[in-house]
């Protein structure tokens, strides 16, 4: 009997053992070498190719912005019903992408999710670069950029202050605080690794620059103690920001009177959407990087699997929000609200295929005959954000890098469409049918947006070239040999022998 129990428990223990966070028994030295060497070796050809392409795109954006500022906002396709279109769509899109980085580095840190260690550095960098891209749009979308200092609380002779009732002003503060805290958090986490790079430096220039950047890090006990405290405080500061920034961004719409914007569900819905889109973007960037640098031992399939689970969770929250918006529009009895959801978004030509359905057939036929002008945007959003991620319920798709990459790109596109749908389809046909119109992007709209991908990628390429893209010291800390309690019971670190079993067997 005891033998039998022993055997079955052992088998169970085999099954429930956590997969190691670093595979193939990599040593600490291997990790340091592997990560640091990326910044030390000559840049490979592919890096230069990518850098050339992305910086060329970035230049496109810069040129378009120059044209915009010198000539007028009219170079974009905006018009009188549609006062915001791609500008604010792009802003919300980019700011949303940033959220995954902060979530991974701050919330997962506070909740002691150790698997975050190998991805947090790059995800945080992505946050910063996404916020840089995001910040461009509200800045340049104004008519008189040379007057944007009016947004700052500068005392002036006219005694005109900002309007603190305006969500746009809250945005200014929310985004700038978010950027500041994010950059501090990221930099604090970088310091020990910068010291590593400094110590490994072979040239004077590298030694000097990394030396300055490492802020005199020596790895002493006091320094570590201060570091841990600072990092914890910054994580604590960042955590509410994950929730607040996108909530504030959603207030731009939620506090307005426009049907389709005036919705109380927006803050949680936007935050969930941001995390959803952010994780997709992290994977989109990380999977190629992992392949190129051979980081499969550090960014394992388990990591990808976990992130996919978060995507399917947040994607479902977003899908629920879409459904709830419809319910509320119907339940409120407000005809303007109903019109926006049904006639500006939902009604699509394919609905006439369902005219045979008993009960709702005639309605479907009518909707199909008068599709919403932007039905394609709405249904692209639904497909990309709600339908495509459902594949992640299957372990196969979560662990198949190519599939993950494809689905994540659907999500990226879907999240852009989501913002486009919210902004443009609400504005283009609101209260007075006399003022209804359409938005058509111009080439300046298109290239300004495309160019921000160039800015994003350029910054990312510079980052992986000069800074350790994986947090070396934190990854080493999750190795079994870094565990001072190695071999002790009751500890949930992965072990080569089933420690948990021992506890269970007692």
């Amino acid at each position: 009997m005891p033998d039998a129990i022993m055997q079955s428990s052992e088998a169970a223990a085999q099954r429930i053992t956590r997969a190691p966070l670093v595979t193939n028994n990599r040593s600490m030295a291997w990790i340091t070498n592997h990560v640091a060497s990326v910044t030390e070796k000559k840049a490979p050809v592919w890096w230069w190719v990518l850098f050339a392409i992305s910086s060329a795109l970035a230049v496109c954006s810069v040129l378009c912005i120059g044209y915009l500022i010198s000539t007028g906002v009219g170079v974009w396709g905006l018009n009188h019903p549609v006062g915001w279109a791609w500008d604010i769509t792009n802003f919300v899109f980019w700011i949303g992408i940033g959220h995954a980085g902060t979530l991974i580095s701050a919330i997962l840190f506070l909740t002691r999710q150790k698997w975050r260690t190998s991805i947090n550095r790059a995800a945080e960098a992505m946050t910063l670069f996404a916020v840089v891209c995001a910040g461009i749009f509200p800045l340049i979308h104004v008519g008189r950029i040379w007057m944007v200092w009016f947004l700052a609380p500068v005392p002036n002779s006219n005694a005109i202050w900002q309007n603190f009732r305006s969500p746009l002003l809250w945005d200014v503060f929310a985004v700038s605080i978010y950027f500041t805290v994010s950059i501090l958090f990221w930099y604090t986490g970088l310091v020990p690794d910068l010291a590593t790079l400094r110590d490994r430096a072979t040239t004077k220039v590298r030694k000097f620059i990394y030396g300055i950047a490492a802020l005199g890090w020596r790895g002493g006990n006091r320094q570590w103690r201060h570091y841990e405290m600072a990092y914890l405080i910054l994580a604590g500061l960042s955590t509410p920001l994950v929730l607040s920034v996108h909530s504030v961004v959603s207030f731009d719409f939620a506090t307005s009177v426009i049907p389709g914007w005036h919705t109380t569900i927006f803050p949680p819905y936007f935050v969930a959407g941001a995390i959803f889109g952010g994780f997709a973007m992290v994977l989109t960037i990380m999977l190629p990087a992992r392949a190129i640098f051979g980081l499969h031992d550090l960014i394992t399939d388990d990591h990808v699997d976990k992130m996919c689970k978060i995507i399917v969770l947040t994607g479902s929250i977003v899908g629920y929000a879409y459904a709830m918006e419809f319910f509320i529009a119907w339940y409120s009895g407000n005809p303007y609200e109903r019109f926006v959801f049904v006639h500006n978004r939902l009604a699509a030509p394919f609905m006439s295929w369902f005219s045979w359905v008993p009960g709702i057939g005639p309605q479907m036929a009518a909707l199909g005959a008068n599709p919403a002008p932007y039905w394609w945007a709405y249904w692209s959003m639904i497909f990309c954000n709600v339908v495509a991620p459902q594949l992640f319920w299957s372990r196969y798709f979560r662990r198949h890098a190519i599939w993950v990459f494809i689905i994540c790109n659907f999500v990226n596109a879907g999240m852009w469409f989501e913002r486009f749908v919210i902004i443009v389809t609400s504005l283009h046909r609101d209260f007075l049918p006399s003022s209804w119109g359409m938005f058509h992007p111009t080439w300046v709209d298109i290239w300004t947006f495309t160019g921000t991908f160039g800015i994003f990628l350029t910054l990312f390429l510079v980052f992986i070239r000069w800074l350790p893209m994986i947090c070396i010291f934190e990854v080493k800390a999750v190795l079994p040999e870094a565990d001072p309690h190695h071999g002790h019971e009751g500890h949930d670190e992965p072990h080569r022998e089933p420690a948990a079993l021992k506890g269970a067997a007692h």
Binding site: G74, G143, N163, S166
Partner: protein, 1065 residues
């Protein structure tokens, strides 16, 4: 002209000197002293007006202004720059002068607002009996023509620049020849203007040169009407409808509610009978039969779509009924003489209409479009006579008008080679004369042709001489208004580009002394205003703008059935088979004379909402049968000629007919005019100026892009324009306040603390939808008052037009025969303004007197306010529309910067000209409010301000409105008109559920249908029938408060209602 005041000479070297040059007394320094400004500083580079010139103009107009005020100043004196204050002027204060705009249908009495000698705004002359202070869109826009940089500036002889001396020599030469042969070969082609001075000079010319030929041509003139009046009521008589006495009105192809084509008084008197303040009050009833939607058709209680040639047949059928109802023999004889034809109209419509008109004998009237053939007009007069209209609803007057030949007679003389010296004064006959006259070819055969015109246009090109014409704001003249009252035409400014007045040319040809503008008019005045102190009368004439008591004497019109019968019998209508063309006046360019006026080009047409274009309008059914959709190019052929135009599907248009507005399709004039729209004049012949039968339309396959300001025509079941019948209004007086959602919205609360509205004046506005015809006068008035820029066709098509008042227009009901509902939308000045809460920089805030203010200086252009505006009335400057050429907006800094200098002069100095990147919108004419505040403060002095009455303030749109539909004022004052209107049960807020408390509210539209008419159950129910009651019984006992009928709104939001969307979007 300029008197140079020399510096006093010095005897010896100065003891104090400014430079070594001065000490040495060099000639250069002497010159520099004389120059007043450094070398080159006085020249204004790049333009035709130098700064010095400009100051001269200002000074000159001041000198003339003196005449306007006191009449005792010399008409023209030494013109001195503004280095010293000019009498009467207070910098920053406007001066107002009475003048008038000569028109073919009578002068429009005006008051010109001038600032530093520049007229910037025109208002109606409230003292004049026909005006009541209102104007129309054309008068409002005409001030822009004055400053049009494309106006001709030079005298041209054979296309080469010439000068005034050469012209004078030519005129003297012509005069010498005419004196010798009694004016043989001397001909004039003029526009129709009732100017006593011109008539006096003409009489003198006729006396001196008895053989001269004096022809008058107006492309949209009333020659057919005049012929009919002469036949029916005798010569020297004029008849005008009097709507103040009319209970029932039938308009056949007549747009009498468009003040531009009828008169301000007609619109006003009709509206007065339309405006009912309390339920149960009587109101007039309007029947309209027309081809395309006009403002008149939009006001109709019952509207019948007819082909243009059917107007006569409709009247014939109607006349038959009325003759049998009234037993009027005269009418029967005219009806029987009138040729029969195929009429597609519903006979029940005609029968019931006839019964209704006959039932109100003496209180009903039929008005017929003045372009319709004389026989049709005569038929109309016969019906009016049978209805007892003469002396009641049809007023007569004895007139004295100079006799003139027609353009056809002139053309015949030209063809026969009998015209040697031809003067074409104004007009543009080469462009707009009937096509069969081939006027252009004939003109090139005339040995000497002198053309006086504002622009170097088609006629100038074909004439030997071109002389720039002075704008009416630059000339001395006089003109009779439609009632015959003599009005002054005073210059506000010296001719900007050396324009010449027609009177000066006639005067010189008559051999009189050197023309002195005011003296010419004064000589006429002396004859008219006999007796008394002439000087005082003249002063009063100029001050008041008109001479009272000079209206045509009333004379009851005596209908001559015989004359009408013979006219009807002689009528030989061209056979009509299939498609017909209707040639309509352009709602924005008239006959094309305003083609270079950007304000009007950018004003959307009433019905189509198309800017910068005309269109071949077709009904949805005809479009379907011809396979046309909006934007398709078609070839229109009639009378053996063809043109190409773009089709536009127009709901409410008559089937099997195409309407096209005249006045478009010019080439080689200016960048504003060129390639705008399609020229329909080539299809028009002397046979019938109003329409063409035997026409054909063919799709060419090409496409055209229209710039419309409204793309969606359906209200989508939203209660925006609220409408009811008189019956429903009587039964449910609060229908307008309880319609749709408004019946059951809970009281709202606001999260914000709102600014205190504690000023004694609280501004508000009402727009009466019962009387608003959608005539656009307010739209252009606002543009003129508030320096609203134009943006050009490309920008309009991108949805970036800047107009602060949007004349929304919805169609309701059946797609083929819908009701048209205009609604003027401007900033509603919400007390809880959604725009204010979202502006991050506080650029839009609220004033204590209830205005939603816009601080351009503070605006950074986030456009958040515009997004959050439920009315979408906020306008954003996407480009530097004031500073960059409209065709080079996308060139940004690479395009030339700066506004034409003359256009700068046209701006209202009290209103900021906005730069790019800022938001703008209706301000309730805050500059006028502030001026009133200042006036009050000045009057009060150190005493308590509240003791001094606040001066009356009228917004520009209110002032212009001919139907008095827009009322603005202090809602805090219970005696104010606006406060009283807001208490009316018809008063409602749009989108009330938003709890924004707009200060602009609307008075619901009341319709007065005749329930016996076919389709009467649909009239007045644009918002749909209430749910309960089941069938189309009106106001089925609903008290409106049970919230039940409010569910109507939900059914309209249904997909089925959506499917009824009008096709032309």
């Amino acid at each position: 002209m300029k008197r140079v005041l020399p510096h006093p000479t010095r005897e010896e070297r100065p003891t104090l000197w400014r430079s070594l040059d001065e000490f040495a007394g060099t000639p250069e320094f002497e010159a520099a002293l004389e120059r007043e400004f450094p070398q080159g500083a006085a020249e204004w580079h790049g333009g035709q007006i130098s700064r010095r010139n400009f100051l001269q103009l200002m000074g000159g107009s001041m000198a003339l202004a003196g005449i306007g005020l006191t009449g005792c100043r010399r008409p023209e004196a030494y013109l001195v720059p503004f280095t010293q204050g000019v009498e009467w002027t207070i910098p920053g204060k406007f001066l107002y002068y009475a003048t008038s705009q000569p028109r073919r249908n009578g002068a429009m009495p005006l008051v010109a607002t001038t600032s530093d000698g520049r007229p910037t705004k025109l208002e109606g002359n409230p003292l004049h009996p026909i005006s009541n202070g209102s104007t129309d869109a054309f008068a409002q826009a005409s001030v822009l023509d004055l400053y049009d940089p494309n106006r001709s500036r030079a005298i041209l002889a054979e296309g080469k620049q010439s000068d005034a001396a050469a012209l004078a020599a030519k005129l003297d030469e012509i005069r010498a020849v005419a004196e010798a042969n009694g004016g043989e070969g001397l001909a004039f082609l003029v526009e129709r203007v009732d100017s006593p001075t011109r008539d006096r000079l003409l009489a003198q010319l006729r006396q001196e040169y008895p053989n001269l030929l004096w022809a008058e041509y107006e492309p949209l003139g009333s020659s057919e009407y005049d012929a009919a009046v002469a036949a029916c009521f005798g010569t020297g008589v004029e008849v005008t409808p009097d709507f103040s006495a009319a209970d029932k009105v039938l308009a056949v192809d007549s747009d009498f509610l468009n003040a531009s084509f009828s008169g301000l008084d007609q619109v006003r008197s009709f509206s007065a009978r339309r405006r009912i303040s309390e339920p149960g009050q009587p109101m007039n009833r309007l029947y309209v039969a027309e081809t395309h939607y006009t403002p008149t058709g939009g006001m109709a209680d019952h509207r019948l779509r007819i082909k243009p040639s059917e107007a006569g047949l409709l009247l014939r059928a109607l006349g038959q009924q009325i003759a049998s109802l009234t037993g009027d023999g005269g009418l029967s004889s005219v009806v029987n003489a009138f040729p029969e034809g195929q009429l597609s109209a519903d006979p029940q419509w005609i029968d019931e209409c006839a019964k209704d008109l006959a039932a109100s004998r003496g209180k009903s009237i039929v008005v017929v479009g003045q372009q319709q053939p004389a026989a049709v007009q005569a038929l109309g007069f016969a019906i009016n006579n049978a209805l007892g209209a003469p002396g009641q609803t049809l007023r007569g007057a004895r007139t004295e008008r100079a006799q003139a030949s027609s353009i056809a007679e002139l053309a015949a003389a030209m063809e026969a080679g009998r015209v040697k010296n031809l003067f074409i004064v104004g007009g543009n006959p080469v462009y707009n004369a009937p096509a069969d006259l081939r006027f252009g070819d004939l003109l090139s055969g005339v040995p000497v042709s002198v053309r006086l015109g504002m622009y170097e246009d088609e006629t100038s090109a074909a004439s030997k001489w071109h002389v720039p014409q002075a704008h009416y704001l630059e000339s001395w003249s006089d003109a009779r208004s439609s009632d015959g009252t003599i009005c002054a035409v005073q210059p506000m400014i010296l001719p900007l580009w050396g324009g010449v007045n027609e009177l000066e040319i006639l005067n010189r040809l008559a051999g009189n002394a050197e023309p002195i503008g005011p003296q010419l008019v004064r000589d006429t005045f002396a004859k008219v205003a006999d007796g008394g102190d002439l000087e005082a009368k003249w002063t009063e004439f100029l001050r008041q703008g008109f001479l009272g008591g000079t209206a045509w004497p009333e004379a009851a019109p005596a209908f001559n059935a015989g004359g009408a019968t013979s006219l009807a019998a002689a009528y030989r209508p061209a056979p009509s088979n299939g498609i017909e063309f209707s040639f309509t006046p352009s709602s924005t360019l008239d006959d094309g004379r305003y083609a270079n006026n950007g304000w009007l080009q950018e004003t959307p047409d009433f019905a189509t909402k198309v800017t910068w274009d005309n269109a071949a309008l077709v009904s949805p059914a005809t479009a379907k049968s011809l396979g046309l959709s909006t934007g398709d190019m078609v070839e229109m052929s009639a009378n053996g000629r063809k043109i190409e135009a773009a089709a536009l599907v127009a709901p409410g248009h008559a089937d099997d007919a195409v309407s096209i507005a005249l006045g478009y399709g010019r080439v080689n004039i200016s960048h504003v005019t060129d390639n705008v729209g399609f020229d329909a004049y080539p299809l028009r012949t002397t046979q019938c100026m109003a329409f063409a039968t035997e026409a054909a339309v063919k799709r060419t396959g090409a496409a055209h892009k229209f710039a419309e300001t409204q793309h969606h025509q359906n209200m989508e079941g939203r209660d925006l324009v609220r409408e009811a019948t008189t019956e429903r209004y009587a039964q449910d007086p609060t229908f307008a306040r309880t319609m749709g959602m408004d019946g059951h919205i809970p009281p709202n609360i606001s999260l914000f603390t709102h600014p205190k509205l504690d000023s004694p004046q609280q501004w508000g506005m009402t727009v009466d939808l019962s009387t608003c015809t959608g005539c656009n006068a307010c739209v252009v008035a606002c543009q003129a008052e508030n320096n609203v820029p134009i943006v050009g066709k490309d920008q309009v098509s991108r949805g970036r037009n800047m107009a602060w008042i949007r004349m929304d227009r919805y169609f309701a009901g059946d797609e083929s025969d819908p009701e048209m509902l205009p609604q003027a939308i401007m900033c509603q000045h919400c007390e809880n303004a959604p725009c204010e809460t979202v502006c991050p920089v506080n650029a839009t805030v609220h004033s204590e007197d209830g205005l939603n203010l816009m601080a351009y200086n503070r605006c950074i252009g986030t456009r958040y306010c515009a997004n959050n505006c439920p009315w979408k009335v906020r306008r954003f400057n996407f480009f530097d529309y004031n500073q960059r050429p409209l065709d080079k907006l996308y060139f940004g800094p690479l395009a030339k910067k700066g506004m034409a200098e003359s256009v700068q002069m046209s701006k209202n100095p009290n209103v900021t000209v906005r730069m790019r990147g800022v938001m703008e919108k209706c301000t309730y004419c805050i500059q006028r409010i502030e001026e009133a505040k200042i006036t009050q403060s000045v009057q009060a002095g150190p005493t308590d301000k509240s003791k001094v009455p606040f001066p009356e303030v009228k917004s520009a749109c209110q002032q212009a409105c001919p139907s008095e539909s827009i009322v603005f004022g202090n809602i805090n004052d219970p005696k104010s008109r606006v406060a009283r209107l807001k208490k009316e049960p018809r008063n409602y807020e749009m989108l009330k559920y938003l709890n924004v408390s707009p200060r602009t509210t609307y008075l619901a539209r009341i319709k007065n249908p005749n329930m016996a008419m076919p389709g009467a159950d649909k009239v007045g129910w644009a918002n749909g029938h209430p749910h309960h009651g089941g069938q189309a019984t009106h106001g089925a006992g609903s008290n409106g408060n049970n919230g039940h009928d409010a569910h109507g709104a939900e059914t309209h939001g249904s997909p089925a209602a959506h499917a009824k969307e009008a096709p032309s979007h």
